[in-house]
Amino acid sequence: MSRRPEPALRRIAILGNPNAGKSTLFNALTGLRQKVANYPGVTVEKKTGTCDLPSGARVEIIDLPGSYSLQPASPDEMVVRDVLLGLQDDTPPPDVIVFVVDATNLERHLYLALQVIELGRPLILALNMMDAADAAGLRIDTAALERQLGVPVLGISAAKGTGLDALRAFLERDVEPSTRYFREWPAHLQRVIDRLQERLPMRATLPERARRDVAVAMLLDHGDDDALARNVPAESLADAHMLASRLDEFSPGWRAGDVMGRYEAITALVTEAVNAPVGSTRDERREKIDRVLTHRVWGPVIFVLLMGAVFQSVFAWAQPLMNLIDWGMTHVGNAVGSVMAEGPLRSLVVDGVIAGVGTTLTFVPQIAILFLFLSLLEDTGYMARAAFIMDRVMSRVGLSGRSFIPLLSSFACAIPGIMATRSIDNRRDRFATIMIAPFMSCSARLPVYALLIGAFVPNRWIGFITLPGLTLFSMYFLGILAAVVVAWVLKKTLLRGGFPLYVMELPPYRMPNWRGVFTTVRERSILFTRNAGTVILAITVVLWFLASYPKGSAEMSRLDATRAEAVATGDTVLVQALDREKAAVSLEHSFAGRAGRFIEPAIAPLGFDWRIGIGLITSLAAREVMVSTMATVFNLGSGEVDVKPLRSALREATDARTGRRAYTPLTGLSLMVFYVLACQCMSTLAVVRRETNSWRWPIAMLLMMNTMAWIASFTVYQGGRWLGFGA
């Protein structure tokens, strides 16, 4: 995969509507020679790859996000427009555009094609799915299309690989840009556009015709177009806004004038070039599938079953793989540990670095499995149906059906869930979904719930459910409730939008493209490991340091002396007991232990003492670490934790100052509520940082969740005591 250094690779962009088969074509042309990055400043993926042409020349291929229009309605579409108009700094306009359309539905795919052809850049129109069009009896006159559009037209099937050789051969040649223009602006509007265009001090890379489109974009701008604001002088933009509001007054409907013009051109074009058999407009297969999958009763039933399967697989099927990674990393740690001399360096490598790598890698099975399912659902077309079915429910909190699957996945782990929000086109909805995803009780909270319920909740039947079962259910429910409230508030305040549009295409059903599916799975796993992994590793090392240093204290020396005596007398039971006590003392005297004491005044009103404080701090690595930390604190050792003694240790723990029980059932409840709501998972914050491309959102998340957790636990503990449950 060595990339040749010369910068002069011809740059080909693949462009088209969603579901045109762009990505299939991209995968077919580039094979696995791809890389994924983000466009700077936004969370839109930039997929590039290389392709070798028949002559041996190599070209660079960019897979631009699927779009419906050059008037952007989403961050994805914004990037497409910026690249094509030369407003995207890191990605100059491509040398050639391969515009992919679905041959079975030219009428719908030609709109964006006409917009792009009008830009006057070299363009090849690829009629994809020609095999399906042939099968449906559609006869497409490509010569007529070439004549009318002024661009070369090529029939291909990206999935079957037909026509790709011809396409590659085409990419060798120079393509003459079209000079066609498919719509007329009314004279008064044209004058306005000309005026704006003349006064544009644009860069030299911008062809004359693209300047006109920048002028149109300025007119249609609502002040939220960052790329325009970056590239156009503020006074020109203000001028355009002023002109636009005058037009609104005197010429209502002007904003959509060009849309009508293009559709008239499309109707004429399709009438001339496409010969469809009579009565072929309906896709019978699609109708049959949809009658079941979106059926009033069967639709939701199948949906629940499918979601159950997805959830179950992320939650449970990933477990053996995670255990395997865990086991592997433990062995690596032991192997490395056995060749290194005992000391701080070994501890850093084994307990810091290797453990951190292990933490990162254990997320990968969940991410890989979730994205396997997600890309299958997306590829087949079911994802849009799932959103269709769930939209009504999610709209109650101001979200859309697209938010459902990321949130469901978050019950297994918020990290893949947050990564899955990329399928939400609406930026505000996506951010709201990211912000509420960590409220879903993830699998890392389960060991904590289990420990606390086992320790403090009596196993009694309440009607048809046991008290522990009811408690566990309440914790899940509390998380959902918090998410609903936060989503609702966010959508009413910070993330309020003018007139959100939830119109969504329901694509035809297709067989999944396995190559694409596996490419997605691979990409997601690598991206996570590379980007979030580094942050997780750093945090693990920091936490290792906090829990291990400073070393040595008077008490430790005393314990060491006693231990040496015990070793001498061969009292192995005493040695083990002393080792456990040493671990406890070491943790207590570490920075983390001191921090536990330091935060005690802040958490005492919630019913937590400094020992729980230590657990809260070490939970920052992963919530389930709470369990092993507690075991260490209570002198039970930190290796294989047997939960039963830990449960009774918690129940019987005493407060050194009062001699009374340190924790009551109310403490347990308060602590569980805290774990439901608090943002403790640093890995989640690392992923939020990556997915929102800013530190603002993860910091807001941390503050919001921890404030909520504190208030809720305070209410539970103090309210409970007031009601007399404190005993």
Binding site: E107, T294, F499, M504
Partner: protein
């Protein structure tokens, strides 16, 4: 909008009022300009025939076809699209 089709105003309804299987011709798209433009770019322009295919299991949104494309549209959005009988 240009080219108002010849029909009586009384016969026009919001697209959300059409039952599954019913068709209509779009007469106007009446919502904030950005939204109207988007809907029209998706092919929902006056003079075009639309058909309501079904409603989602919970009654909202609805699936429509326009120019061979299937769209999911919330009732609150469909309300702004007026149609006359096909």
């Amino acid at each position: 909008m240009t080219g108002t089709p010849p029909h009586s105003a009384a016969a026009t309804r919001g697209l959300d009022r059409l039952a599954p299987g019913e068709r209509g011709i779009i007469t106007s798209v009446d919502c904030p300009p950005v939204v109207a433009r988007r809907l029209m770019e998706l092919g929902l322009i006056p003079g075009t025939e639309v058909e309501v295919v079904r409603r989602a299991p919970l009654g909202d949104p609805m699936e429509i076809t326009v120019r061979g494309m299937h769209l999911s549209l919330r009732k609150s959005e469909a309300r702004h699209i007026d149609v006359s009988p096909a």
